[in-house]
Amino acid sequence: MSEDINVKDGLRESATFDRTTMTEIRRAAETGIYDIRGFGAKRKLPHFDDLLFLGASMSRYPLEGYREKCNTSVTLGSRFAKKPIVIDIPVTIAGMSFGALSANAKEALGRGASIMGTSTTTGDGGMTPEERGQSSKLVYQYLPSRYGMNPDDLRKADAIEVVLGQGAKPGGGGMLLGQKITDRVAKMRTLPMGVDQRSACRHPDWTGPDDLAIKIQELREITDWQVPIYIKVGATRTYYDVKLAVKAGADVIVVDGMQGGTAATQDVFIEHVGIPTLAAIPQAVQALQEMGMHRKVQLIVSGGIRNGADVAKCMALGADAVAIGTAALVALGCNHPKYDDEFKKIGSAAGFYDDYHEGKDPAGISTQDPELMKRLDPVEAGRKLANYLNVLTLEAQTLARACGKNDLRNLEPEDLVALTVESAAMARVPLAGTSWIPGQKY
């Protein structure tokens, strides 16, 4: 309830039973089933906004913002792969499935990423020719469902990402409701049309890190050790998961924080499972450093990255690159105000829409409806994504130069301070104006 109503009418809304909570109780009472939605966590969490950079002054030299170079390229997968991926900017596109997204949206992601020399990623539905055709660097996800998985596509990929979980639902499998299982989606997934598809949460043919090591070796054998193998985990017990992923033989580890998006899962899962991205990065970096593998096994971080400051902060905390999903969709046109009237017709509003699973997205992105899909021009949307990626990069470079760094990966935790005790403890950087890092000895 807004403050003005409280003041004006003397009404007081319960902080525990606020209107959102009451609405959900009524919805549950009416339907008898949990709420399913897309997007990521909507609750307020400690995040990158709680960190600030310490720009150079007397004790550090800054670099000229417009003249001195600041490298942004990153090599991924140099540990074992014969052909590591070199991306021109440290921002990649996270895995999102054809099925969850329209073919045009997938094509636009590929176009935008390719313009900027970075990679895009398949999802829980196999590799489409449009996506492969428009993506100069394509990461092929290896998921528990194995929908559409085949050795030919595996060999066409520039990297393979073994997905153990995602930040929006660590411990849960994918979900694609019947409205979006069109003939093409059904064929790619070998499912009946219109079925509510429930992906498995565990891989079907291995359990545990020792098995995973053998699985990774199998994937390397099938691809003749050519391409990098990533392991993606949802952020929970990140310190241990990263150590086990290194032990299992990963070239690259992707850690997805709880702000990471999804096409569909239970609301209770999105809001109550996992840890914030901010808290996950230091755990991952610590694990890599203790194993002597930091920078040898590259770390990609995702979950709630929105601007160049977020990119730079991730890298200062020790990431080699980041991945974006929700932000990329917004750049394409997701939740655009020009469709506000149509969002209202389906019970939502521009900026609030999260029912991706219903397949009615007026912006033509999270839908398989042929008429809605036409609204997204993949060339124009791809150009917008490229623009956005460019801005992320320029912003991150601006901050790095201000800190005196000629490479984004030279940013370091010493360049950061925290605004809150919570973020100081999670990010393991001092509270601003102090030398205090909660939980660490002086």
């Binding site: 089933i33 194995r146 050795p151 079907p204 098995d211 070796q217 199998e218 054998e221 050790w225």
Partner: protein, 227 residues
């Protein structure tokens, strides 16, 4: 015939030599000696080869097989013929868990018993097991057929989609949404053809058929207890 001794050569050497045949097939028949349970033997094949593995194989033997005909003269470890696309894989002995997992096509024959989760998430492969299968076999099976000439363990066909399951012996229990179905003439024909392809002599009329009740295909409040 080309013979490779895995005590003298690595699995990498073997697989690369087999993969090279996909470019230009110069040797069609291969014999692998002394495998001694090593993992990932003959995976990712993409040519009409005949590969005889003379001994026990470890995990993921013949994984993602296309076109090739692989015979294991011993037992197979976890995930034999996982995600197979086409061709044939035959295990003369027993197979560990997740045999034929997620396989899209081809024929997997296990002459002994198969462990848990045989045919898990299968997507079009045909699997014939002369012995028994373990618990949770055919979990989330999407397409293809699983034939069990012996007994099936607990929770057979749990959350099944459209895989056809035929069992001659007993079924300890059926999984969620899996039911016994009528054995009609077209199913007798299908099973006869499967047994013939597998080279297994059994009377098709002595089998029972199991399939999806299709009650979990769409979320319903009334099914909440099954989720």
């Amino acid at each position: 015939m080309k013979t490779i001794d895995l005590q003298k050569h690595t699995v990498r050497d073997l697989n690369q030599a087999l993969h090279d045949q996909a470019v230009e097939c110069t040797i069609r028949e291969w014999e692998v000696l002394e495998p001694k349970g090593q993992h990932n033997i003959a995976c990712g094949l993409d040519q009409n080869l005949a590969v005889d593995i003379k001994g026990h194989a470890g995990y993921f033997c013949a994984g993602m097989n296309k076109k090739a005909h692989v015979t294991i003269f011993g037992n197979a470890g976890q995930g034999v013929a996982e995600n197979m696309m086409s061709g044939t894989v035959r295990v003369k002995g027993d197979a560990s868990q997740a045999a034929g997992a997620t396989a899209h096509g081809g024929l997997l024959v296990i002459e002994g018993n198969a462990g848990a989760r045989c045919g898990i998430s299968m997507k079009g492969v045909d699997i014939v097991v002369k012995g028994n299968v373990g618990h949770m076999s055919c979990f989330m099976g999407q397409a293809g057929s699983l034939v069990v000439c012996g007994d099936a363990g607990d929770a057979l066909g749990d959350s099944l989609y459209e895989t056809h399951i035929y069992v001659k012996g007993s079924v300890k229990s059926l999984g969620a949404d899996c039911i016994e179905k009528e054995m009609r003439e077209e199913h007798i024909e299908e099973l006869t053809e499967l047994l013939n392809r597998a080279g297994v002599e059994e009377d098709p009329k002595s089998f029972k058929r199991y399939g999806s009740a299709r009650q979990l295909y769409n979320f319903k409040v009334d099914n909440a207890s099954a989720y």
